[in-house]
């Protein structure tokens, strides 16, 4: 028995959500009195692989196959299944990010291993194997019990803060048979905004709503985000009107985010918006309407005109950062 973590990478760098998954796997392994190993696919440097030891991985199986630099869910499912078999892993952990969403369900069906997608706590193993997850788009939690012998858990990004332990993992080459014919989904192109933190991994998010009146005013949001090293997001009508790109849309029908700090500017706080952001650790709301529902979900608030308050806040933060 052991725990296996699929740690995904982009351009040779292990994603932050994957590090969180490794650390989660290490905690589960400790709970079960066993070891945790990781599997990484695609071209990644040995140093990067060994650094997973910093989050508790004892060993990293590395499939150094350039065909796997991008994810083909069917192929990676087979690879992870082979690794699980080799290591006798009963518990397999993913990040509940886009790779996890592509692979974990396939693996679940392949191994008949019950899946809890988007875990927010370590499993309760005192009586069975019960994992807590968000349901109703963050408006409630469910405790889900996995009854199958093999178990899969995907970990909600930004839920567990990273606490490096300072270890080095052993790296072992792993080369299961992979047929070209299995690559049914061909990746033509990957278009990522490089240099920017993906929203789902961002520690701080500055988000703008219809209260900002138009795309020409987004400098306000960007300047504030810039001093904080934050990512930017938007409410649905803002992205629907094309003021901001679709991938910035957060809420029930957009992305679910859980930053440490979510600053909402000119957003009313409709229930569907809150569904995507209510997992944020601290929420700051800037709105000129004291009755805006968002204040009920906020930790800190300023009732005021965004066009006056936000530039002042940006200046104050600049001064704070300078000290």
């Amino acid at each position: 028995m052991s725990v296996l973590v699929f740690a995904d990478q982009h351009e040779g760098k292990i994603k932050k959500a994957a590090l969180e998954a490794v650390q989660y796997g290490a905690s589960v392994a400790k709970q079960l009195g066993t070891a945790v190993n990781a599997i990484v696919v695609g071209e990644v440097s040995n140093d990067e692989l060994a650094s997973l030891g910093n989050y508790g991985a004892a060993k990293v199986l590395h499939v150094a196959d350039a065909r796997l630099n991008d994810i083909e869910p069917g192929v990676v499912t087979k690879v992870v299944a082979a690794a699980a078999e080799k290591e006798g892993a009963d518990v397999i952990i993913f990040a509940h990010n886009f790779s996890g969403k592509a692979i974990a369900p396939r693996l679940s069906a392949r191994l008949k291993a019950g899946l809890v997608a988007g875990a927010i706590e370590l499993p309760d193993t005192s009586n069975g194997f019960v994992v807590k997850k968000n349901v109703f788009s963050g408006k409630a939690f469910a405790k889900v019990s996995i009854s199958s012998a093999k178990k899969i858990v995907s970990v909600l990004p930004n839920t567990f803060s990273l606490a490096p332990v300072g270890g080095t993992a052993a790296v072992e080459a792993f080369s299961p048979a992979i047929n070209d014919a299995d690559f049914k989904v061909k990746v033509v192109k990957v278009e990522t905004v490089s240099g920017e933190v993906p929203l789902t991994e961002a520690e701080i998010i500055v988000s703008g709503g219809r209260g900002l009146k138009g795309p020409e005013n987004w400098g306000l949001v960007e300047d504030l985000a810039h001093v904080l090293g934050a990512a930017t997001a938007a409410s649905r009508p803002v992205s629907d009107s094309g003021w901001r790109p679709h991938h910035e849309h957060v809420g029930q029908t957009g992305l679910t985010v859980r930053p440490n700090l979510y600053i909402a500017i000119g957003i009313s706080g409709a229930i569907q918006h809150l569904a995507g952001v209510n997992g944020s650790k601290v929420i700051v709301v800037i709105n000129k309407d004291p009755e805006a529902p968002f204040f009920k979900a906020a930790d800190y608030g300023i009732v005021g005109d965004a066009f006056e308050v936000v530039p002042k806040l940006t200046e104050a933060l600049k001064k704070y950062k300078a000290n």
Partner: protein
Amino acid sequence: MKILVCISKTPDTTAKIAFTDNNTKFNDAGVTFIINPYDEWYALVRALELKEKLGGTVHLITVGGADAEPIIRKALALGGDEAFRVNADSQDSFYIASQIAEHAKAEHYDIIFTGKETIDYNGSSIGGMVAELLDLPYVSVAAKFELEGTTATINREVEGGEEIDSVSLPVVVSCQKGMAEARIPNMRGIMAARTKPLKVVEPVAADTLTSIAGFELPPAKAGVKLVSPDNVEELVKLLHEEAKVI
């Protein structure tokens, strides 16, 4: 073109979330149910657009009790041709996926669309499971789907951007925003839906791998601390010293 759209019944987005039976059951008293928005706005409408352009049929499937029929009728009113309801009540994704896969095996669909997740269970799992059970390629969280002959070009969301995939049919795709523009059913569609076939099929035996042990509501927020707009420095101080997030 033969397309299957998986439809799930979910509470309306504004529904009050509460539980009964010692926090083991969703309290549906007074709750309006809708088609899961991702299934309706993106999966179903994209299927209809493809049918309108290329001809063919759009089938709908739901795994659920008779109380799912109103939402299935609505999906038919939007333009689905024929619906199947697998008469089973389950919350386990693998069980549900097994029922859908069993149905699909006999029908040989070119495309199977699901929503990217349901807004109640937020599992994001059915599409991938169905694909694995049928040994089909799977593209998750897709924002665009174009077809050229039997080759689909699909944009799928990845961290911080998009990946553009090319895949030969048949394929399973989970859909999100960007796939299509939401539609509302018209009178003609609503009338036609009344006589469209809605077949009730009994479930096949399948494993249940998970079960819900109980629900919880998040603790209430302590209440907002208001800061004067003329004293933004105070907010900076609070965020640093009290909240410790900057």
